[in-house]
Amino acid sequence: MSDLYRIENLRLALADMTAKPLFGPAPRIEILKGLSFGIAKGAVVGIVGGSGSGKSTLGRALVRLLEPSGGSIHFDGTDITHLPEAVLRPLRRRFQMIFQDPMSSLNPRHRVGTLIAEPLRLHRLDAIPDRVARALDHVGLPQNFATRFPHELSGGQRQRVGIARAIALEPDFILADEIVSGLDVSSQAQVLNLLERLVSDLGLTLAFISHDLSVIRRLCQRTLVLHQGRIVEDRPTAELFAAPASAYTRDLLEAIPLPDPSQPWL
């Protein structure tokens, strides 16, 4: 049994700032309500659900940008649920997150090369220029892109930079949070092809968050459906599409407009 991640009864509560009284602490609302699942080494797992279902919160917990309030997260055999930052730091290189809008998380005044090198410096790696060059290669960007600024890039190219930044660290696991949602269909397809190739070439394990089941179908062997902070379905993707078990999954599927005027829909 070689699970890279083992999640048991994961709970996560956050302070609800919208309900904070004038004095005293804000009440806490439970966002993740007891999730259990594993992610096998080398797997590509889709995490799907409507907005507010808890996908990003789950993602942030997996890479320990958030600390769970209950249950446990084991990464490659290590319990990382409550590890303090100092102990976590060397592990961080092994799990990376890519965000939906790389522009807002990247410094717009830095060139692409600097942006990719930044996490490498933080982790005190050697031969940084080589690593940057290899990362650009892997994501199919020409070497001269290292000197460009983010605003000079298209949406698809920016997402490639986001991916390059993550894989340059040679992680075991990547969590991609809605990374193709803002892109044109053709760029979406290119980024998905790229991810597929990287997973097999680099032996990555990938969790892919999306609200779009069509994209998940294409990329992921297994799919978790999240609804209101709970897993309502966790199955091989092909089975889920053939016969969705939960009413919520069916709703999500039926809401997708197929490019076909004969599909009864509205």
Binding site: G50, S51, G155, D184, V185, S186, S187, Q188, A189, Q190, L192, N193, H211, D212, L213, S214, V215, R217, R218, A238, F241, D251, L252, L253, A255, I256, P257, L258, P259, D260, P261, Q263, W265, L266
Partner: protein
């Protein structure tokens, strides 16, 4: 007979390259025309030209925008603004930024009716309440008093739809009205837009990058590349057999979950090269005409 007829509309960045290249399209009363194409293709620019809200850095270099038979571009600016204000409306993309967070909903629907169209406050208020009912918002009185942040994204988009229909416009431009929404909410909102548009007999220009949505909402579509219409088709014909290689490739890139082997194919480089060559040939022909 078309209500909106755009003839050979050309727009460019002032002193710069063309952004729209002799765009022509028609929309009849009660009809929906989709404008599709990748981002930057000029979809929003067409909508802005019709609504007279082109950015100042951009200028019209030729063509006509006929609205009910009158060329808007031939009217003095003041008359043009009045004509557009009385007959056209916009459903914008982002229901959050389109509403002013520090004002209650009521004035955001009624101010235009009162200040631009000269309605009385009471009439505008009654109209707003009726419309909120028509877009299926529960408790319209409460919604009128609410601030935008108290409402969900789907509710806010319903309000913008109500607001667009408030003055019974003959033409509505909907610019990616569901891009910011969930699939399940998107479905409800599209259903609502279609229902309202059909009931009111409004001509609708529907900007989207999603051919799935086009197949559900539109009767006609224009496929744009670099500000050029590469295909103008009836929806049924287009999905049966797109005529232009670029639009066929765009359709092949559109995900289709019922068929995991179809969809999500990148537009091939050869197709991009060919359509770029078409654009270049268009510009070269125009330069020759200009020189002659």
């Amino acid at each position: 007979m078309s209500y909106l007829s755009i003839r050979n509309l050309s727009v460019r960045l002032k002193g710069g390259p063309p952004l729209l290249r002799r765009v022509s399209l028609d929309v009849g009363p009660g009809e929906v025309r989709g404008l599709v194409g990748e981002s930057g293709a000029g979809k929003s620019m067409i909508g802005k030209a019709v609504l007279g809200i082109l950015p100042p850095s951009v200028e019209v270099t030729g063509g006509e925008i006929l609205l009910g038979g009158t060329d808007l571009l031939g009217l003095p600016p003041k008359d043009r603004r009045r004509r557009i204000g009385a007959t056209c409306a916009l459903i914008p993309q982002d229901p959050l930024t389109a509403l002013n967070p520090s004002h209650r909903i009521e004035p955001q629907i009624t101010d235009r009716l009162v200040n631009i169209l000269g309605w009385t406050r009471a009439a505008a208020r009654a109209r707003a309440r009726d419309l909120l009912e028509e877009v299926h918002l529960p408790d319209p009185e409460r919604v009128l008093r609410a601030y935008p942040h108290e409402l969900s994204g789907g509710m806010r988009q319903r309000i913008l739809i109500a607001s667009a229909f408030a003055a019974e416009p003959k033409l509505i431009v909907a610019d990616e009205p569901t891009t910011a929404l969930d699939v399940t909410v998107q479905k409800q909102i599209l259903k609502l837009i279609r229902e309202m548009q059909a009931r009111h007999g409004t001509a609708l220009v529907f900007v989207t990058h999603d051919l799935g949505v086009v197949s559900k909402v539109c009767q006609h579509l224009s496929v744009l590349y670099a500000g050029m219409v590469v295909e103008d088709a009836r929806v049924a014909d287009f999905f049966a057999a797109p005529r232009h290689a670029y639009s066929a490739a765009l359709l092949a890139a559109t995900p289709k979950y019922t068929d995991p082997d179809a969809g999500l194919n990148p537009v091939p480089d050869a197709v991009i090269d060919a359509v770029r060559a078409e654009v270049a040939a268009f510009d070269a022909a125009k330069a020759r005409r200009g020189a002659a």
